[in-house]
């Protein structure tokens, strides 16, 4: 049961996006996020949706998988949409819809304005595109380890400020490395406790939470033991932090990374232009 958990949902593949340098993907994703939050009008949002669709095609990950990735945020989407519909809008305009709901002696008048509806749609698109595109660039097509490498490389200048970038990256790598081991261990401990009559599936929430205590304690103890063993093993292999370390695989930018970067810059510039000039004169 626990084996099904995968962190970050990486789907190995061979698409252009898979092959991109993880650093380039991070930078491009950040640029895209800027574009998402700059978008103001219909043309921009159409461009965002279209580009997100193109990226899905490029990544060769099925649309269904990506839409499924949106499921956990459905509640947030719905909530922000409702808030936007009812609480925002241009009060100088005539309302689209109004009701009068008496609550005791007060009367609540929920009102919907046209601007509020548009705003709700825009915000929903923003959040959806944000989740889709960041997961396409980062979680779906980049393994957690390469992502860690990319973060280490990109933050390397911070070393000048004596921030231990290498150490943080190493910590992340090891944490990721131990996830399958610890999941396996949790399974083992749970089975051992079940064999002694522990019940994890029934009872109230409090009762079930309490049943997990005898799982967590041995898990923590063994995690510390493993951490110590690993530290000793690493030290025996001459590890002493990032000092004087070389790497077997060095990240390398290719032509496609530069192309992707330039395209994204152009896209961002386009969004800016359309925002301020709205050349197509379309407005809602």
């Amino acid at each position: 049961m626990l084996k099904d958990i995968t962190l970050g949902q990486y789907f190995p593949g061979n698409s252009v996006i898979h092959k991109m340098d993880p650093r380039a993907k991070l930078i491009v994703a950040i640029l895209y996020i800027v574009a998402i939050f700059c978008a103001q009008n219909v043309v921009c949002f159409a461009a965002l949706l279209l580009s997100a669709f193109l990226l899905i095609l490029l990544s060769r990950i099925s649309v269904i998988t990506i839409l499924r990735g949106l499921k956990p945020i459905m509640f947030v989407l719905l909530f922000t949409a409702i808030i936007n519909v009812f609480l925002t809008g241009d009060t100088t305009e005539p309302p689209l819809w109004q009701a009068e709901i008496p609550i005791f002696s007060l009367v609540w008048r929920p009102t919907i304005y046209r601007a509020g509806v548009i705003r709700a749609i825009f915000t929903s698109i923003r959040v959806m595109v944000l989740i889709m595109v960041t997961s396409i660039f980062l979680t779906y097509t980049t393994s957690p380890i390469t992502l860690t490498d990319a973060i280490e490389e990109l933050l390397a200048p911070l070393k000048l400020l004596h921030i231990p970038v290498h150490d943080f990256a190493m910590m992340m790598t090891i944490a990721l490395l131990f996830i399958p081991t610890l999941i396996e261990e949790t399974d083992k401990i749970m089975n051992a406790q079940k064999a002694r009559g522990a019940d994890f599936a029934n009872g109230s929430l409090v009762k079930r939470a309490k049943a997990l205590v005898p799982v967590l304690i041995p898990l923590f103890v063994s995690a510390f033991k493993r951490a110590e063993d690993l530290a000793v093993a690493m030290e025996c292999r001459c590890y002493r932090g990032g000092k004087g370390r070389t790497k077997l695989h060095k990240l390398q930018y290719h032509a496609r990374d530069i192309v992707a970067f330039l395209l994204m810059c152009a896209f961002l510039a386009g969004i800016f232009v359309v925002n301020y000039y709205n050349p197509l004169e379309i407005s809602l």
Partner: protein, 286 residues
């Protein structure tokens, strides 16, 4: 031949909660030559793991001297950088393969040690490929280690040590968590490293049949050196082994039993095949 690892009058004790000293090692003086294959044998709590931790510089002794690769690691002026230099000469393989792998791809794990040494990329590549083919795992270079069997993982761990090109490798109960097949894989890797590459092997174990592979066996009991000699010498003193709760290999035990019944059989260690031959001859003569 020169002494690669040497200890003189080494003593170490653990402190328990009541500040009482529990001696783990007392007056241990051992020398291991370059390219020697030594097994350190003892049951649990005999002090053999403590000995490994001392050689490893994880613990420092209460008294006595340790010299590794001609340098006294217990000297007061021994610095962290010196420790780095010594550790590249002495590799160590531990019991649990899961707790000594540091990367999610086999070849990157093997590269970890040499990367720490700061070698150029071209040499890293050569060393990783060489180490992986030496342990017969080259076709797994791109695999994820946690999907492999225990014996394979342990061979990856060994490759990670070989890639640093040490002159000596210490195996701290490296086969204790493996199934018989995995143990055989690791044992034949050890034999190969010693025979073909003249790497000194120090195998800390409680398996008799493993100890029989070595050139020399040091039996440790209650923190002291109890016996020191070739497998033949050690296993011929079967009563002394029994006295401290150890058993000789099965063939030796069998011959000992038959000898007591009056059969003319040799004492000491016998390979399985030789044992069968001797029994067949004995049967035909009778």
């Amino acid at each position: 031949m020169s002494e690669f690892v040497k200890t003189e009058h080494l003593s170490f004790s653990y402190e328990d909660e009541g500040d009482r000293q529990n001696p783990a090692l007392e007056d241990v003086s051992i020398a291991v030559q370059d390219g020697e294959y030594v097994a350190i044998l003892g049951h649990n709590g005999s002090g053999k793991s403590t000995f490994a931790k001392l050689l490893n510089m994880i613990l420092s002794p209460d008294s006595g001297k340790i010299c590794i690769a001609g340098r006294e690691v217990t000297a007061p002026d021994f610095t962290e950088d010196d420790m780095f230099d010594v550790r590249r000469e002495v590799g160590m393989v531990f019991q649990n393969p899961d707790n000594q792998l540091v990367a999610t791809i086999v070849e990157e794990d093997v590269a970890f040690g040499p990367e720490n040494l700061g070698l150029p990329r071209k040499e890293l590549r050569e060393r990783v490929d060489r180490a992986l083919s030496m342990v017969g795992m080259i076709e797994y270079a791109q695999h994820a280690p946690h999907r492999l069997s225990g014996g394979q993982k342990q061979r990856i761990a060994i490759a990670g040590i070989i890639a640093m090109m040490p002159k000596c490798i210490i195996f701290d109960e490296a086969t204790a968590m493996l199934d018989p097949l995995g143990r055989r894989e690791v044992m034949s890797t050890m034999d190969m490293l010693n025979r073909d590459h003249h790497i000194a092997i120090l195998n800390i174990t409680h398996y008799m049949d493993e100890a029989a592979h070595a050139d020399r066996i040091i039996v440790v009991n209650d923190g002291r050196v109890y016996m020191d000699g070739t497998p033949g010498e050690v296993f011929s003193r079967i009563d002394e082994l029994h006295a401290i709760g150890l058993e000789a290999p099965q063939t030796t035990e069998l011959f000992d039993f038959l000898r007591r019944e009056g059969c003319p059989l040799p004492a000491g260690y016998t390979e399985d095949e030789a044992c069968i031959d001797a029994l067949v001859r004995l049967y035909e003569e009778a």
